[in-house]
Symmetry: C2
């Protein structure tokens, strides 16, 4: 690695310290600013969200609330509506009875709820994965990993998973579709077959299907996405679909998510709390989410973002010296080849180009040197490509 | 009761239905608006918050965020800081090590966390109380009630509580100071003696002290409040102080609260979740909360509100036909005398005067007909007094 100067070393150390404190999550740009880590981040390629959707949300926010301060006050001053009210509001749009909708303070609250109140004994998790799925389990739950094979591009083999589940007889299986951090995608049909097979395994009580990135996926030229929620009825006793609104709608700060699950499970959760678990602004977001005009505009920014994202990944795929894995999410997992270390790549991208990437050295289940790069706005994606190309060229010379 | 017309009956029924759906909580004005219950609520005397503090918060919000949309965007778009970061930020102001501060998505999340992760076997709760304290307990926990005596103005007798705890050997004791819904207050010295005595009872692992209304109390003419957090060190193994920011700062929609507890307890909670459990706006609130200028301005609206509140309660105490119980919170518990029913009082206040009060007919531990009235802005309090006086006068004639 080009020698780091003292200032650069200190900066990287502060980021490293912040990362350790954050568990297995990169400190947000927010945190870096707050902790006065004086790094000039030009592009936050760590952050998994559609920035065009944030623009859209903010334009509604400005129009609805900044021009009507008494309405804004109502959302900030009053208790928000309870879970059941929001569920009823969402019911029409999600084409799901309100009794099967549970609203959460971001998907992390939903993950925690599912793992703590429903999961016991044994759980199967696919690796690599979003770390909360094994970090939040309660003591006494054994976690069995199904490691995706790098040689097979981290593609999930439904048969292998089914065999593993038959053998291990877990209480819970966790699937993320598209998967984080590699972006691998199971088709609607594959998910259906998988749910069907898993449902027949005795003792399997929960199939947690995290669709937080499903809005970035598609199966045909219309680019529409296929949520498993339309199959919910067939698997209602076991299926728990978890959905963050942070990624596709670009509103992580608002903390909004929902889960679809059996009414008995929801009743159990509501019996033990989750009283006013979303904020007034999350309520405002969910109100927007049921507004036709907003959804129509959202559809456009969704399609635009997918097109730009896939074009970005395509170019990444042509760059020598790195391998970009197939992704139908809004991030790409990149393997560094030829002895290049993730630490070096991360440091130089940040220090020389102001590009903040996700160093995956703490992700279990990845054997090699990996970086995850999020798709941002087009001019930012272009700049990330130029940065990677320049860095690799300089390194060779 | 004056006969209700069909329209009035229908309105009351919708409110009643909403209330049933909300558990033992009055539907918020927000919910009534959303459900299109067309009642003209002039004064929300159900809502327990300092409206002057809301004004103050909104003026900062406008100044800081509405004039700087990129800053606003940062709070809405990005993941908020994690629990530890906010705790460090609060540490100085609370004069408490960050390791003993746990940040929550409103106090209801903190209550749920304490009851689910720490409480087992047996718990003592004072009656009447905030219903979540017995509603959220997990199956298998026996709840023992210490019923406050109406004849003694619902005053808590520390000796009775200590004897009960010695006899019952609970795992957890819950105290709310000032208590909800009556506003009864234990002095700093009484709390100290109580904590001292309870700490010596074998098997008692948790003393939950909810100080969500402490900012409305005072012990001397300076009107400053006395939080038990300054005694935390002496009782750290057992004491859990829970603090909502919704009431004193008037920001219920933001969902912000914190708890002070032993580091081992916090470690256990963080190990099992609570990753990004507060929103970007709650983070903004906590940032304000550590700003000298904001706190100085807050102190003024706090004192003003207390003075107006106590003057309000004093006048309520002089009205014939009702009995107002002593309160150092921002609400007063009112007993209706002479055969007057809470249902009738609630209905007529709402329908004839637009005053929305808390009908306490669902509160266990209250023997009689009770209404809870919150203190609002001075002109609203004045209007509530006029409404009660007019109603009682008309009723007698």
């Amino acid at each position: 690695m080009n020698r780091l100067n003292r200032h650069e070393t200190a900066l990287l150390q502060s980021i490293h310290k912040l990362k350790e404190k954050s568990g297995a999550h990169s400190p947000s740009v927010h945190e870096l600013i707050h902790k006065k880590v004086s790094i000039d981040i030009q592009i936050d390629a760590c952050f998994l969200s559609n920035p065009y959707a944030t623009d859209l949300f903010l334009s509604y926010f400005q129009h609805d609330l900044l021009s009507d301060l008494s309405r804004l006050r109502r959302y900030l001053e009053n208790y928000p509506s309870q879970n059941r009210f929001i569920a009823e509001m969402l019911s029409g749009y999600l084409q799901m009875p309100a009794n099967n909708i549970f609203v959460g303070n971001g998907s992390s609250e939903l993950i925690q709820a599912a793992l703590h109140y429903f999961t016991r004994d044994k759980m199967i998790v696919i690796l690599p994965t979003f770390s909360s799925y094994y970090e939040f389990v309660q003591d006494g739950v054994e976690v069995i990993f199904y490691r995706l094979d790098k040689q097979k591009d981290f593609e999930l083999d439904p048969e292998v998973l089914i065999d593993l589940a038959k053998r291990e007889k877990p209480n819970t299986v966790v699937l993320i579709n598209p998967n984080n951090p590699n972006g691998g995608y199971l088709t609607y049909e594959q998910v259906g077959r998988l749910l069907h097979a898993l449902s027949r395994i005795q003792g399997l009580e929960n199939i947690i299907l995290d669709e937080s990135f499903i809005h970035f996926s598609y199966e045909d030229p219309s680019l529409s996405f296929q949520s498993a929620s339309s199959m919910f009825n067939d698997f209602r006793a076991r299926l728990i679909i978890i959905k963050s609104m942070s990624k596709d709608f670009g509103v992580a700060g608002i903390r909004a998510g929902y889960a679809i699950m059996d009414q008995r499970k929801i009743d159990l959760l509501l019996k033990t709390g989750y009283l006013w678990n979303i904020s007034g602004l999350a309520q405002y977001f969910f109100e927007l989410f049921t507004e036709d005009a907003f959804l129509k505009a959202y559809k456009q920014v969704r399609v635009r973002y997918i097109q730009e994202t896939q074009a970005f990944f395509k170019i990444l795929g042509t760059i020598d010296g790195i391998k970009t894995y197939p992704s139908l999410a809004n991030f790409a997992l990149i393997e560094l080849l030829g002895g290049l270390k993730a630490d070096e790549f991360f440091a130089r991208m940040l220090l020389d180009f102001g590009v903040y990437t996700r160093n995956c050295d703490d992700k279990i289940g990845l054997d090699g040197e990996f970086i995850r790069v999020a798709s941002r706005k087009k001019h930012e994606n272009d700049a990330v490509i130029r940065a990677i190309q320049t860095f690799l060229r300089n390194r060779q010379s």
